[in-house]
Each structure stands twice: as structure tokens, then as C-alpha cells.
């Protein structure tokens, strides 16, 4: 009987500290966007940090506990979380976060994915059938997601719908101004040749007009082999590149190797919020990303 009291007490206590909408974001960029759009009406938890590879997350007990209490899942989708999110859904005993339910929001459904493979075979490495899931690298995608997410938040939490709409309008205005500013800053990056370690930057390059010469991981998710690296060297002889880019959560080994062999500059980009100290929210994430690219282009 005592045990029952404890359960009742815990449930009462936990509901007392909840905000109007509890959001479980799979990645920090969507946690930050949810905060921008929800203000103090939402309490947001990010399942991963900017220093973790979102493909390889453990379905830890702490994540199960968070998923149990979530009103809304905000995740990338496009199979990025397929190794862990289905387990959280299965174990949480939470009806609203099940696939297709009102609290299931996959951001990749609201943007146009690039790099959709024409043939699906695992010998090609860890490919994503739905396309490149790393959509947060372009602010043009963020605004599309923001619109759809705000819509969803208004549907789930009708009481605060007007508030969410105001937050979105305000965010949208600031974001458009920021995009104009970033585009002006990044003008010198147009047409600059770059090498990437993992194919995570397609959306960023499309936006800024950077030119990807080659990928160090010839097969996604598989560390580059010696022959892959030698191929890269040969390619760079014909098409020299200014810099080699990797995300903060990735090992810099392959990039370092290339820096050793050529005159190329290595750039570590935050990839998402928390990828480095400067990237604290969506705005500073792009400020920092562009600054780092410009610094490298100058060298």
C-alpha cells in the first residue's frame, strides 16, 4: 500500500512541475527551435548533444523516462534515429508519440531531401533510403520546419495557439533578416572547392554555393580506407580544394591525414548546437559556421 502512495505522490509531483507542452527533441537543433517557438509554454529536452553521433545513440533508461512524459517528439526522421527511436516509442507506453500520432513530428517530412540514393544496397555503406537527413545545415530548411512545427504545436496545445503563432512570426522575421545577413557575409565562399569527411553538408553547400570536390568516406559511415584516401589525393591534384570539413562529433583522423599530405586547411564545424562553445542557439550556430568557413577560406 505504501508503494501505491509513492506512485501517486510521484505522478502528482511530476505533473505539477510540467509546462504546458513537454517536448522531446532528438537533436539539439530541434530542441532550440522548439524553445524559440514555444517560449515559456514548453519544456524541452534534447536527447543528444552536439558532440554525439546521432546515428549511434543508445536507447538509455533516461531517454525512455523522458519519452514516457513527452507530448511531442521532434526528430529528424529519414532513418537518422532508426537505431534507437523505435525502442523508445515501444518502451515508453505513451500513445501520443507513436508513429503517425499527434505528438510524432519528423522534420524531414517538411523539407525536400537531397542525395536520395538511386539504388539501395548495403555494400554502399550506411546509406539513408529517404535521402540526406542532415537538413539542419541550411537555414532555408529551418524556416520551413519552423512553420510546420509551429502549426503542430498550435494543434496540440490550442489554448496557447495565438502565443505560438506570435512566436513564429517573430522568429520568422528575425530569421529572414539573419539569412540575408549570412548570405552577404558568405558571398566570398561561393564556388570555393571543399572536401568533406562525411556527406553531411549538402544542404549547407547548396545554400552557400560551396563546391564539394569529394568525400573522404567513400561509403557513408565506413571509415575511409587507404585507397579511398589515395583517390582523394589524386582528385585534389586535378581539382585543388581550399579546405576539408568534418563535424565536431566526428574523429578528425582522416582530415588530419589529408592536412599532412596537402596544403589543405582543416575545418571543424559545429554541425549542430553544442558542437562548440560558440554555438549556443540556432543563430549563433550559423554565425559560427560561416565565420569558420570564412576564416579557412582566407588562409
Amino acid at each position: 500500500m505504501k508503494f501505491l502512495y509513492i506512485i501517486v505522490f510521484l505522478s502528482v509531483f511530476s505533473s505539477a512541475v510540467q509546462a504546458d507542452l513537454t517536448i522531446f527533441a532528438c537533436e539539439p537543433e530541434w530542441a532550440s527551435l522548439s524553445e524559440e517557438l514555444g517560449g515559456d509554454k514548453v519544456s524541452v529536452f534534447s536527447a543528444t548533444t552536439g558532440l554525439q553521433d546521432p546515428h549511434y545513440i543508445q536507447a538509455r533508461p533516461s531517454l525512455i523516462a523522458k519519452a514516457r512524459r513527452a507530448d511531442l517528439l521532434v526528430c529528424t526522421g529519414a532513418e537518422l534515429e532508426s537505431g534507437w527511436l523505435p525502442l523508445l516509442q515501444a518502451k515508453a507506453g505513451n500513445s501520443v508519440i507513436q508513429t503517425g500520432a499527434s505528438g510524432y513530428f519528423m522534420v524531414s517530412n517538411y523539407v525536400t531531401l537531397i542525395d536520395i540514393p538511386t539504388s539501395l544496397d548495403r555494400s554502399q555503406g550506411h546509406i539513408h533510403a529517404a535521402g540526406n537527413p542532415h537538413i539542419q545545415t541550411s537555414p532555408l530548411n529551418i524556416v520551413k520546419v519552423a512553420q510546420a512545427l509551429s502549426q503542430r504545436m498550435q494543434e496540440i496545445d490550442r489554448v496557447n495557439a495565438v502565443f505560438y503563432q506570435q512566436r513564429f512570426d517573430d522568429f520568422n522575421q528575425r530569421w529572414q533578416a539573419a539569412i540575408d545577413n549570412w548570405q552577404q557575409q558568405a558571398a566570398p565562399l561561393k564556388g570555393v572547392n571543399v572536401v568533406v569527411q562525411h556527406n553531411s553538408w549538402g544542404y549547407l553547400f547548396d545554400w552557400l554555393g560551396l563546391n564539394k570536390v569529394t568525400v573522404l568516406e567513400s561509403k557513408p559511415g565506413v571509415p575511409p580506407t587507404v585507397s579511398d584516401l589515395n583517390n582523394t589525393l589524386n582528385q585534389l591534384k586535378t581539382t585543388p580544394a581550399k579546405m576539408v570539413i568534418h563535424a565536431a562529433y566526428q574523429s578528425s583522423k582522416a582530415s588530419d591525414w589529408l592536412v599532412d599530405k596537402t596544403a589543405i586547411t582543416s575545418v571543424t564545424l559545429p554541425f549542430t548546437i553544442g558542437g562548440n562553445e560558440q554555438s549556443k542557439d540556432l543563430f549563433s550556430l550559423f554565425d559560427n559556421t560561416i565565420q569558420r568557413l570564412l576564416d579557412a577560406a582566407k588562409q
Partner: protein
């Protein structure tokens, strides 16, 4: 206006003689400079507007491309195939070498079940598992794992798991029904291919013949707390070893509690406790030796009550919580079986009281993204008392109180998350016959991307 002014100025300047005043010239100069600055500014403005137009055009282009792409992608996903369940298959094979003959293998103080023995010596095909899963409708999810394995030339088909589970009861409640791995301990709920070593811990081998399953119903409740706390239980048919016989009602039951959380971003843990009970009817002792195949003419049978308690603790570490590059897993489990009843065969009957216990600890270190190594230590103990020791001998139960132990080392290479090659060495003291065991094993998974629990 400006060009006119310019022309007039030029005409005027041409008309004036060289003897014009110096201050007049400097005036003109100033005007020229002013005009030049004016024009430059206007050109710059024009350039900026042009650049802006370019950007907008690009934006429109991407927009158009995106609209095109969405319209085609929605068309392609609408076909009947998209409702197919997720299908995956696990294939494995191994090479095993033993210093002692595997036919001599015994686990002192325990009776080995059919699958509880050693893998065949030399090259052998391991179990091939087919798993099919999908959401059934808005309420249920279903999953089934069919295992195929060779036994003395014939292929045996077994249903490892076949269950349905609620998706959306809400309030942290989940109900599962069918056949499933019992929520006892940590490894028990995982498929063998997801274990860290090529063979089962000795205690799993001794108590369950590798794994405990339930044919029945499982309830679980997840508390709405920040720290994960799950309480639950199962009721089952009771005919899975170490239960036995048919029951008109509930044949076995189990309760469990598990909790876990994170400590900072680098550490995470989970602890669990569980208790299982059954009253086996005519549980047969296969005669001790593994893969006996042939039925013993006059087997020893057990009738009575049996219960097992378990505690387990798992801890994982990864720098920044990023498991891809490097991580450590430490796992320990302990089981205690308590049994009370009678042993009999056609001729004799004896009172029987048994305690069988033991555990294992293992540590796994993934030191590079594609490499893992690990060590494991197993130990067991038993106290078997019977009013007639002859029946214990007939059941091939060693009642001397010998403590089996085993030390294992393994090294794994993982070309991708879908494949694994493993080498393992055991120093095995399961009985008084010491054995050194070597395994080389591959395990691959084809088809749907499986998700592995913590």
C-alpha cells in the same frame, strides 16, 4: 541633368584661357571629385541590387526544384509494398575447438538441457533467425522470430519469439502477449546474437538451457519520473524449463523492477531485480549430457516448487556520450534458484531440496569504432540434498558441491553495424575436467535495420 552639366563645364573650361585663376581650377577639381564619388556610389548600389536579384533567383530556383521533387516523391511512395513488415535475418557460423571432447562436457551441480551444451566441434552453422515485425493497427505491434538450426542432420524450426504488444495504451502501461523472452535479468531479454560472447553465461546455461522464455502475458508500468523506474510482471504457461508440465491455470509467474539513468553525459546505468516462480510437474532430467537426443529409458522426474531470484547491474561509459568512437560496458548478474519437492523414477522416490546459484561479470571495451575486446568471469555453486542420492546420480546431478568457473576473452571486428567477426578463448572449469575452448564466429544481419536496446 548631370551629363548636361558636365558638357557645359567642359565647354566652359575649354573656353577659358590658360591665364584663368588658379582658384577657379581648384573649384572645378573639387566638383569633379564630388561627381565621381556620386557615380561610384550609384554603381555600387546597382551592383548590390543585382547581387540581391541573383540570390532571390537562386532561392526561387530551389523552391521550384523542391516543389518538383515533392510532387514526384509522393507519387513513388504510394504503392502497396510500403505496408510490408520489417524483415531481417541473422546468419551465423562458427569454428569451435575444444581441448577436451565436447561429449564429456558437464556442468557440475546443474542438469543440462537440450541446447545447453557446447556447440559442435569444428565448423558448424549456427542458428539462423528470421525476424518479422510491424505495427498491426493503431493499437498493436507484432513481432516474431523464427530460428532454424541443424540438429544431427535435420533442420529444426523453433519459434523463439512471437508476440503482440500494445502501442498506445498510454500512462506508461504496456501489455505484451504471446511467446517472449522473460524480463528476468539483463541478457535474457536480448537475442543471443546481441550478446557479447559466443556462448551463454554458465548460469544461463545451467538454469535455463541458455534462455528463459514465457508463453503468456506481460504487464509493465513505467513511472512518470525523471529517473526511469519500470515495474512489471508476467504470467505464463509454466511449461518452459525450469518449469514443466501443463497447467490449467497460471503455470509460472514473475515480477520485476528495473531502474536506471545517466550520471552526467558520460555515464549511464541500469539495475534490475526479478523473481520467478513455478511448480514443475514431471520435469525430466535428460541424463546430464548435452545433445542426448535419445530419450532416457527411465528418466528421473521432479515435482515440487521452484523459484529463481535475480539481480543485475549494467554500466556504460562513452566520452561525451558518443558511443561511436569509444565506449565501455560493465555488466554483472547473479541468479539464485531454490527448489523443494520430490525426485522419482519408476522405482524410487526421494525428498529433494536444492540451491543452485551463480553469476558472471563481463567488461567490454570498444577501443576504436570497429574494434571491441572483452573479458568475462563465470562462477557457479550448488547445494543439492536428496533423501536418496542414487536418484541424483541417475539424474546425473553432481552433488559434491564443486564450484564451476570459467574465464573468457574475446576480440571483435565490426566492419559495419550489420556484421561482426569474433574470436573467443575460454578457460573452462565447468566440471573437474578442465577445458580450453576456442571459437571463431561470424554474425551478420541482413534486411531491416534492427534497433538494439540499452
Amino acid at each position: 541633368m548631370k551629363p548636361l552639366k558636365l558638357a557645359l563645364l567642359i565647354a566652359a573650361s575649354l573656353g577659358t584661357s590658360i591665364s584663368a585663376h588658379a582658384d577657379q581650377i581648384s573649384d572645378l577639381k573639387a566638383e569633379f571629385l564630388q561627381m565621381r564619388a556620386d557615380y561610384e556610389q550609384r554603381i555600387e548600389q546597382l551592383e548590390q541590387r543585382l547581387a540581391q536579384t541573383e540570390v532571390t533567383t537562386n532561392a526561387v530556383k530551389t523552391e521550384v526544384a523542391s516543389v518538383k521533387a515533392t510532387s514526384t516523391s509522393t507519387a513513388t511512395t504510394r504503392n502497396n509494398n510500403s505496408f510490408n513488415p520489417a524483415i531481417s535475418m541473422v546468419l551465423n557460423g562458427q569454428f569451435s575447438d575444444y581441448s577436451d571432447s565436447p561429449d564429456n562436457y558437464e556442468l557440475s551441480g546443474f542438469a543440462l538441457q537440450d541446447e545447453g551444451g557446447l556447440a559442435p566441434e569444428g565448423l558448424s552453422l549456427g542458428e539462423s533467425e528470421i525476424t518479422v515485425s510491424a505495427s498491426i493497427d493503431q493499437l498493436f505491434f507484432g513481432q516474431s522470430t523464427i530460428a532454424l538450426h541443424d540438429d544431427a542432420g535435420t533442420t529444426e524450426v523453433g519459434i523463439e519469439e512471437a508476440f503482440i504488444q500494445t502501442l498506445g495504451l498510454g500512462n506508461g502501461i504496456t501489455v505484451r502477449a504471446g511467446r517472449f523472452y522473460s524480463p528476468m535479468g539483463y541478457l535474457n531479454e536480448k537475442h543471443i546474437h546481441a550478446w557479447n560472447f559466443a556462448d551463454a553465461p554458465l548460469i544461463y546455461r545451467g538454469l535455463f538451457g541458455n534462455q528463459l522464455t514465457t508463453d503468456g502475458v506481460k504487464f509493465s508500468y513505467l513511472l512518470p519520473t525523471d529517473q526511469m523506474i519500470e515495474l512489471g510482471g508476467t504470467v505464463g504457461s509454466g511449461d518452459q524449463h525450469p518449469g514443466a508440465g501443463t497447467n490449467s491455470g497460471i503455470g509460472d509467474w514473475l515480477i520485476y523492477a528495473r531502474t536506471g539513468g545517466d550520471i552526467g553525459t558520460n555515464h549511464s546505468w541500469q539495475a534490475s531485480a526479478s523473481h520467478w516462480q513455478s511448480s514443475p510437474k514431471d520435469r525430466e532430467y535428460a541424463g546430464g549430457h548435452n545433445h542426448g537426443g535419445d530419450a532416457v529409458a527411465d528418466p528421473v522426474l521432479f515435482n515440487g516448487d521452484t523459484d529463481i531470484s535475480n539481480v543485475s547491474l549494467i554500466y556504460k561509459w562513452a566520452p561525451n556520450g558518443n558511443f561511436k568512437q569509444k565506449n565501455i560496458t560493465l555488466l554483472g548478474e547473479y541468479f539464485y534458484l531454490n527448489e523443494d519437492g520430490q525426485l522419482n523414477n519408476s522405482a524410487e522416490l526421494a525428498q529433494y531440496d536444492a540451491k543452485q546459484y551463480g553469476g558472471f561479470i563481463e567488461g567490454i571495451y570498444q577501443f576504436a569504432p570497429r574494434w571491441r575486446t572483452g573479458a568475462r568471469y563465470d562462477w557457479l555453486g550448488s547445494k543439492l540434498r536428496a533423501s536418496d542420492n542414487e536418484l541424483l546420480t541417475d539424474a546425473d546431478l553432481d552433488f559434491s558441491g564443486f564450484h564451476p568457473q570459467r574465464y573468457s576473452l574475446m576480440l571483435e571486428w565490426l566492419p559495419s553495424e550489420f556484421s561482426r567477426v569474433r574470436a573467443q578463448v575460454n578457460r573452462d572449469k565447468s566440471s573437474r575436467n578442465d577445458d580450453t575452448q576456442l571459437f571463431l564466429q561470424y554474425t551478420v544481419s541482413i534486411g531491416a535495420h534492427g534497433a538494439h536496446s540499452f
